[in-house]
Amino acid sequence: MTSTQQDLLRQGRQAVVLVVDTSSESRQVWQTALERRGYSAIVTRTVQEAWPWVERCVARVVLVDNHRSIPPDLRQLDPNEAVSTEPAEQDLLWLGKVSPDGRLLWQTLEKPYHYAAVLRRIEVLCDDASPDGRHD
């Protein structure tokens, strides 16, 4: 997490969006786009790196780039996160809203998606959640 992210978290005002993507380019795009819209973006490469943030329930929305057709349930994923070498049958972006009890309610977008469309969805999901981003 960058120092900016830490600052934003400390402020506790911005909605936190957690992005899990193996592509550094994609992480870069999400971070820039989200921060420019006033969100706090936590970007991680793997689910393992993302797990502590989910555990602390700091994120309102989670984005996971996943080419598997199974939901990337962060609590149930194989900790080794074995990368499938099978050709992907579906390339999906999983967009999860974190419910107050910490569960993730997923929706998907098929690749190649439009960033503007995903950002609109993020906006709606964040508006639905509590203002401080915490669910205790």
């Binding site: 193996t22 380019e25 870069q28 795009v29 786009a33 780039d65 990368v83 690749k111 998606y113 960033y115």
Partner: protein, 601 residues
């Protein structure tokens, strides 16, 4: 009995007989046909038998039921139909059914009443495949020996080809060598139409002009009873009457036998002969075909049928594999292209954001992403083209160090972004060698790209590229060493298979297969030695031909330059190298080469 034969999927090789009026197919163990395939629904489809015909009915499965590539809800099955259920491919084989007539210019199936000669023919003998030789005949041993020889030759013939036309023609040739038949043909049951179609024909005269008339009655009898028949319009006993029709028509004899395979009749073999009236009168009662001919024809037809079935299932399997390969290729490429498109959209989005905010830094970030993805799609296309067709390398005299240096320079930015140190240690005395610079550039680029990616997660990642010349083995080596993740032993050969990537969504699975293909086209190879957690060394080895030496003559001669034992090569700077070949003279002779220290940079 009708059956299902699984030719692809986890249950490949299983055969299910359709021995009930309703057979259920699905993933659940309660089904009559259980398929171990996650793409198959628990209760996927049913096969019903109605008045001897089999229908497949989809039970509202998630992924559908396909017959010969077409999705179906309910479909009448024909022998040879390919059923696709999930990822499992099944061939449906129908029970034997009587064939109806077809007409070709070569063979006519006619009713006996329509044909003067046939009209007086009758079945004089029948024989199923269970019948045995008669030991009472004093010549039985000689006949048995002859039969054994012909069977041996038939067995050889059927085992030497998978080409059905060639196989059938060879069988007819053998039959004609052994029996005095005038005409013969082999007819196969068309799995689509379930009708007999002529597949091979032979005439002793070699003309083959006249249509060969075959009695539909005889064919029906053979197909219905699974028995071979010997027919003649002449009497077989001494009461043969020369005054009858034979005086005017001669003697017509025929043998027709079913080609009984494992799962049913696949066709018939028919031979006939004609003795003109004059000769028939001179040799009353003499016939050319007898019971032994019939027996052996039954056996030959059985052998041929087995071979045809094998060929048929082999073709089906081959076709299924091709379809699967095409499907896999499309799925894999679509995945890569989608990811590249996503990258381009991401870059474009940032550019748009930057333009709106008038922020050159964001524009620069976006443009860098777009550029990188343009490069990725360009590489993907080039790799696909390189891999998709055999090509002969365009050999020219060139400096391999220049090619490798260009790759290293090109990859410096990527290495820097990944936090990986990329170094080049060229062999300074490298002569000009014959190789295809453009192809070699691609081969080296793919390997270096992989090495950088392998080091991305490693603290202090380092990739060193070296060129070496081995005058003793007459080979040039390009070694790409990294201290990255390493590759488990069980994956070290797999990584050279197409679409096998260890890089997840980033890898196309084409890079290393393409590199190996290029090196093999040069008469060399790419090999790897690796230790998980310690790194890998890829060796691109190709024959070090200088100007006067022979060129690579055959692109398929992969492996002609033996790849070296990489362990035998010391670290750069410590290795004592043989003197490089004198490029002004004949090249790579090592007979008088003094040793020298490697001049690694």
């Amino acid at each position: 009995m009708a059956s299902l034969f699984v030719i692809r999927g986890r249950d490949q090789g299983k055969r299910f007989e359709l021995d009930r009026d309703c057979i259920t197919i699905g993933r659940d163990s309660s089904n009559s046909v259980q398929l171990h395939d996650s793409e198959v629904s628990r209760r996927h489809a049913e096969i019903h038998c109605q008045e001897g015909h089999y229908w497949i009915v989809d039970l509202g499965s998630s992924n559908g039921t396909f017959v010969n590539g077409q999705r179906v809800e309910r479909q009448l099955l024909k022998s040879g139909d390919r059923l696709q259920i999930g990822r499992t491919l099944i061939v449906y084989t129908a029970p034997e059914q009587p064939a109806s007539a077809i007409a070709t210019t070569a063979v006519d199936i006619v009713s006996q009443a329509d044909h003067a000669a046939l009209s007086q023919s009758r079945i004089v003998s029948t024989l199923g495949e269970q019948s045995a030789l008669r030991h009472g005949d004093p010549n039985w041993l000689v006949q048995a020996h002859g039969s054994l020889e012909i069977m041996y030759r038939v067995a050889l013939a059927v085992s030497h080809t998978l080409d059905i036309d060639e196989l059938l023609q060879r069988i007819l040739d053998l039959i004609f060598e052994w029996v005095r038949a005038d005409r013969g043909c082999i007819m196969l049951l068309d799995p689509q139409t379930e009708q007999l179609r002529p597949a091979a024909r032979k005439d002793r005269t070699g003309t083959g002009q006249d249509a060969l008339a075959i009695s539909r009655t005889i064919l029906d009898y053979v197909l219905e009873h699974h028995e071979g028949v010997l027919t003649s319009n002449a009497g077989l006993d001494e009461r043969w009457d020369p005054a009858a029709s034979i005086v005017s028509q001669g003697v017509h004899e025929a043998i027709c036998v079913p080609m009984q395979g494992r799962y049913g009749v696949v066709g018939v073999i028919y031979i006939d002969t004609y003795t003109p009236p004059g000769r028939a009168l001179l040799e009353p009662g003499a016939t050319r075909f007898n019971q032994d001919h019939l027996k052996l024809m039954v056996a030959i037809a059985h052998q041929a049928a087995l071979a045809i079935e094998d060929t048929f299932y082999y073709s089906a399997l081959l076709q299924a594999e091709r379809l699967a390969a095409v499907g896999q290729t499309i799925a894999t490429l679509s995945h890569h292209i989608k990811n590249i498109l996503q990258g381009i959209r991401g870059g474009s989005f940032l550019i748009e954001e930057g333009l709106k905010a008038n922020d050159p830094e964001i524009i620069r970030k976006g443009w860098a992403i777009v550029e990188k993805n343009q490069e990725r799609i360009s590489n993907l296309v080039m790799d696909m083209l390189t891999y998709s067709k055999p090509r002969k390398p365009e050999l020219v005299l060139a400096q391999i160090n220049d090619v490798v240096a260009d790759v290293v320079e090109l990859m410096q930015l990527r290495a820097k972004e990944a936090g990986v140190a990329l170094e080049f240690e060229p062999y300074q005395e490298m002569p000009l060698l014959r190789f295809d610079p453009e192809a070699m550039h691609r081969a080296v680029l793919n390997v270096v790209t992989n090495a950088i990616d392998a080091c991305e997660k490693v603290e202090g990642g380092r990739v060193v590229v070296l060129t070496q010349l081995d005058p003793q083995q007459h080979v040039c080596r390009i070694l790409v060493k990294d201290n990255g993740e390493g590759i488990p032993l069980e994956d070290q050969e797999k990584i050279f298979s197409v679409f096998e990537s260890r890089k997840g969504a980033r890898g196309t699975g084409l890079g290393l297969p393409v590199s190996r293909k290029i090196l093999r086209e040069h008469g060399g190879d790419v090999t790897v030695e690796s230790q998980p957690g310690r790194g890998s060394t890829f060796a691109l080895v190709f024959p070090a031909f200088t100007e006067e030496q022979p060129q690579v003559s055959d692109q398929s001669s992969h492996g002609s330059a033996q790849p070296p034992d990489i362990e035998a090569w010391d670290e750069p700077g410590t290795r004592r190298w043989p003197h490089p070949p004198d490029t002004d003279t004949a090249g790579c002779s090592d007979s008088d080469a003094p040793s020298m220290t490697s001049d690694s940079a």
